[in-house]
């Protein structure tokens, strides 16, 4: 009912992924991995989670850092939102993600919360998911049985649930290098102007042809309007092979408003969320176009 002090637990600080997996193996169902802790510690204070063992991933250096290479960029799951916000490469090449981390929570939380943690919490309004999905990111999951890499699109299975198995660790997020004539953006509608959960979040990533006229690829994703963040292929299809303008964007946006499946809750109604999806989709497409064409 009310927030309490933290329940007691044993705290473990492995320094490698292997060690972390071993610890989790040993403590079975009574263990939880902890990254930034900004979601888990609150859940524990509310007694929604009462693990006997907390296995901290903070000491696992291999899970940290932003590493660009020829194929794109790899972001360690333990990288904080603030580190991504400050990253030059993200600010230059992965604008949809930069937009998202800049409007998440407060600076006091962004300095603690990790990108991996945001994904693993798997709340429908998680701001990092739509842009990463639009950027065609994949996630590397490491477990006792080995590692697997899956597209982020297939990661979420419902509110607060994902394909991540209880002993698995989300280790890394890879984003392919965006080609020329491409960009993206993330727009978020909140009640307040900061420090608020998304009523609706829309990410758009577009790639134009070499003349920067015709849209060759489009990835549009929506947050907070379905049990999981969703990609809307019907909207994308409306954009591809067309010269993007207000009318095209508007038509695509209308489809987005119909494709989303939001709920009514105390933050906003279903109808309002659908309207907002339409508005934000159009704006995200136009903003992305502007970013490409300058």
């Amino acid at each position: 009912m009310f927030i309490k002090r933290l329940p007691a637990f044993e705290y473990h600080t492995p320094s490698s992924v292997g060690e972390a997996l071993d610890l989790m193996e040993r403590h079975g169902n009574n263990g939880r991995y902890i990254a930034g802790g900004t979601d888990l510690l609150i859940a524990m204070k509310k007694r929604e989670a009462v693990p006997d063992h907390l296995i901290s991933l903070s000491g696992v250096d291999s899970l940290k850092g932003i590493t660009p290479d020829d194929t794109g960029v790899r972001i360690g799951a333990l990288t904080t939102l603030a580190e991504i916000e400050r990253s030059e490469i993200i600010g230059k090449q992965y604008l949809a993600l930069r937009d998202a981390v800049g409007v998440m929570a407060s600076i006091q939380v962004r300095n603690l919360a990790t990108i991996g943690g945001n994904l693993c919490s798997a709340v429908p309004s998680a701001d990092s998911a739509p842009p990463l999905m639009a950027l065609n990111a994949s996630v590397k999951l490491v477990g006792p049985e080995g590692e697997r890499t899956v597209p982020l699109e297939t990661f979420f299975t419902g509110p607060k649930s994902s394909i991540l198995k209880s002993r698995e660790i989300l280790a890394e997020i890879s984003i392919p290098k965006p080609g020329p004539a491409s960009s993206g953006c993330y727009l978020k509608l909140m009640r307040r102007h900061a420090m608020d959960l998304a009523l609706v979040g829309v990410a758009a990533c577009l790639k134009l042809d070499s003349d920067r006229k015709v849209c060759k690829e489009a990835r549009i994703t929506l947050g907070a309007v379905a049990p999981t963040p969703i990609r809307v292929p019907e909207v994308e299809a409306e954009l591809v092979n067309k010269e993007i303008n207000e009318t095209v964007a508007e038509e695509a946006a209308q489809i987005a408003g119909m494709e989303c499946r939001p709920i009514t809750d105390l933050r906003a109604s279903l109808d309002y969320r659908c309207d907002a999806v339409t508005v934000l989709t159009k704006r995200a497409v136009i903003e992305t176009l502007k970013r490409i064409t300058g």
């Binding site: 927030i3 705290y11 510690l41 609150i42 901290s56 903070s58 407060s106 939380v109 102007h193 420090m195």
Partner: protein
């Protein structure tokens, strides 16, 4: 289970014997007696418990004390040099940016971190920086005025 942990706070190294489930704000306030760090929501929504960890503002209610080992922690008590206030503190005093004072330690520390990273913020950036620190008294205008004034002073001090 209690354990010895080593915390470096305001340049002083402390060894304290605390349970692993103690948050940093609890240890700062209850164990070290550094009550300048305030506690209100306990869920990272108000900014009252803001401290600097390696120079960056964090919600100390969302940090385990054991996890703060090895970090340089700065609380409001560590900002002034004796009676000489930090320029941010001086600006808050001069610009009447303080009313009830409960949000003030968090506001001041967040401002310090902003100016260390961005010495020349716009008012928009200043407002954004403190958007995680709730204040009910002031309407924020004089806090923003103080932030801008502190930036100007610190820049002048840097160049001289």
């Amino acid at each position: 289970m209690k354990q010895d942990i080593v915390l470096k706070v305001n340049g002083t190294t402390y060894t304290v014997n605390v349970e692993s489930h103690r948050t940093l704000v609890e240890v700062l306030r209850d164990t070290l007696g550094l009550t300048g760090t305030k506690k209100s929501c306990n869920e990272g929504e108000c900014g009252a418990c803001t401290v600097l960890m390696d120079g960056k503002p964090v919600a100390s209610c969302l940090v385990l004390a054991v996890a703060a080992q090895g970090k340089e922690i700065t609380t409001i008590e560590g900002l002034a040099a004796g009676v000489k206030l930090h320029p941010v503190q001086e600006a808050f005093v001069k610009h009447t940016a303080i009313q009830c004072g409960f949000c003030t330690p968090g506001m001041v520390l967040t401002t310090k971190a902003l100016l260390d990273e961005n010495p020349d913020p716009t008012t928009r950036e200043a407002r954004r920086a403190i958007s995680g620190n709730l204040c009910r008294c002031t309407g924020y205008q004089q806090i923003v005025d103080a932030m801008m004034a502190a930036a100007a002073t610190m820049k002048k001090e840097m160049s001289s």
